[in-house]
Symmetry: C2
Subunit: 348 residues, 2 copies
């Protein structure tokens, strides 16, 4: 099937128009015409080969919203015209214990990511900076027409990445929760933790974000350079969601956890984090990590968002302004996620 999008051809050049082929849809496949595609910081890391092993040409994008234009004969969840969404993974082995448990993101064989991966036949996957995508319906989600489609796109990565650990560690009424960093991930973690009924403290390096954090649901905001303000919260948190991808000191947050508390990394700093053993031995704390969520939980999250009217805060951009958007993401100068209006993609 013919596709058209924007691709990186090496780690230094700008993304340029790119014509390529996707597989013809099989019986279980859904063809989604893409209307909106979110820009995740990991797109930039991979385009620039900052994690190593990048596959070029690369069509990034794993926060995909559109509508269905064709379905295979065995598809049951979708019909032509339905709104639909695709996230970070497009396949998994489906038979390992993790897949059977609905945790396809931790597939033991290795899940197939939406772009910059080889599928199980050895062919590269291409993501959402394009006009269409072909995906097995198991990895396609239904979305509500009630929500702003553009603002739904970031839920497929930033949304589920924060929703899943908050659910796994049972954040809810009576919990005291911290969210570190107010960016693409952090602002979604803040919205969810607030919605779940927790008392939420937003940590930020920037005084300019205090008002915004309160508007988005924070009960308290701590500017992290204020050591006294941090110390006031020592030993008091049940759970802290660390959404920062830049190198930072996790011990100052570990020390804020009460007995059996967990700090969960979702921001994926490029360098190792340094943990003082006493930071975890005291109060029997844990430093954990979490990656996106399974297909069932992703659908649950999208349904929850429709019910509670939760979407991402976004800035809409156009495909010809990718370079500018990338620069602003790197500088954390976006409130809080760029979404590409794919109507701006030239008609082949």
């Amino acid at each position: 099937m013919k596709s058209f999008g924007y691709a990186a051809h090496d780690k230094k050049s700008a993304l340029v128009p790119f014509r390529f082929e996707r597989r013809e849809p099989g019986p279980k496949d859904v063809v989604v015409e893409i209307e909106f595609s979110g820009i995740c910081h990991s797109d930039i890391h991979q385009v620039r080969d900052e994690w190593g092993g990048s596959i070029y040409p690369m069509v990034p994008g794993h926060e995909i919203v559109g509508h269905v234009t064709a379905v295979g004969g065995a598809v049951t969840k979708f019909k032509v015209g339905d709104p639909a969404a695709v996230g970070v993974i497009v396949d998994s082995d489906r038979v390992c214990e993790n897949c059977v448990a609905g945790e396809e993101q931790y597939c033991i064989k290795g899940a197939v990511e939406t772009y910059n991966k080889l599928d199980y036949e050895g062919k590269p996957t291409y993501g959402g900076y394009s006009n269409n995508i072909v995906v097995d319906e198991r990895f396609v989600h239904t979305i509500s027409p009630k929500l702003n489609s553009a603002a739904v796109a970031p839920l497929l990565c930033a949304g589920i990445t924060t929703y899943s650990p908050l659910r796994h560690w049972k954040v809810g009424e009576g919990s005291k929760v911290g969210v570190v960093g107010l960016g693409g991930l952090g602002h979604m973690g803040l919205k969810f933790a607030h919605s779940f009924g927790a008392h939420v403290v937003q940590f930020t390096t920037s005084e300019s974000k205090i008002a915004d954090a309160k508007r988005l649901g924070a009960d308290e905001v701590v500017v992290t350079k204020d050591a006294a303000a941090l110390a006031k919260h020592a030993g008091s948190f049940d759970f802290i969601l660390d959404c920062v991808s830049a190198p930072h000191d996790v011990n100052q947050y570990l020390n804020l956890l009460r007995l059996n508390g967990t700090l969960c990394l979702v921001g994926l700093p490029e360098t190792p984090v340094s943990v003082a053993p006493f930071s975890v031995v005291a109060n029997r704390r844990s430093l954990a990590g979490s990656g996106i969520g399974g297909m069932k939980e992703t659908q649950e999250m999208l349904d929850y968002c429709a019910e509670h009217n939760i979407v991402s805060e976004i800035e809409l951009t156009s495909i010809d302004k990718l370079a500018e958007a990338y620069e602003r993401v790197v500088k954390a100068d976006v409130k809080y996620r760029f979404v590409i209006d794919m109507a701006t993609l030239p008609k082949s």
Copy 2:
């Protein structure tokens, strides 16, 4: 009350005989005449001020076994002549939420350690390298006369430090558990994990320990310099108890954990551990820590040991050979814990 023991007077000198005063026993206090005192690696760290803040003169020792020679009028658990044991802490505030939950080791005010601490009246505490100790009965444990008293002493620190996390993370039949390091802590972790019915893999740097590990209960032994042997276990462990106090790479063990697995540090390396974020994000793993156990759980552990005939493997030594014992502990040349026969203490 007059006491006599061995003390360090500064961080460089050998321990020497030392005469000092303990408080007169109050209504809730128990006086224990000390028969055996274990040597913990943390004694050496504190004698040498390797953690900073050491208080001199210091009488080390927090693995204490003896018998009761006097009780206050309000004591209910003990009578004169009973065997008794004292561990790492001798007081806590008793009213904070952690104390009320039976987790006095995580007392929010700060538990009073058995030596090298100031008690709540500001007086230094002195440990078990001495002829007697005065402790509130809440912090004194009953022990069974069925077990070898000398070999019980290390249960008070090495025993509870490994028992508690294995219980907290619900290790038992059907669990696959790793124990890293076969020393004072590791050999107790191995015995407990085996006794709880887990499949236990002992990790060691030393081929010479393979036979001993199997004798102590290991189902498998992996020599950690064998990368292929490690790789065979990737993603397969429910829980790993890391008993190594020397700097080491925790990522190679984190990568052996399956979905939701936990690696728990009990060895307290002096330098921070370096955690690659992907090591915890993959399989939603946790790096945790744990310190000793509460009073209720310590008693439960001692009762469990009596019922299952579990004690430490020890080498008995005498108070005049402390310097030699310390040197051998530092070189990990002891199978697996030194215990001082306090009958070798001169009669004042």
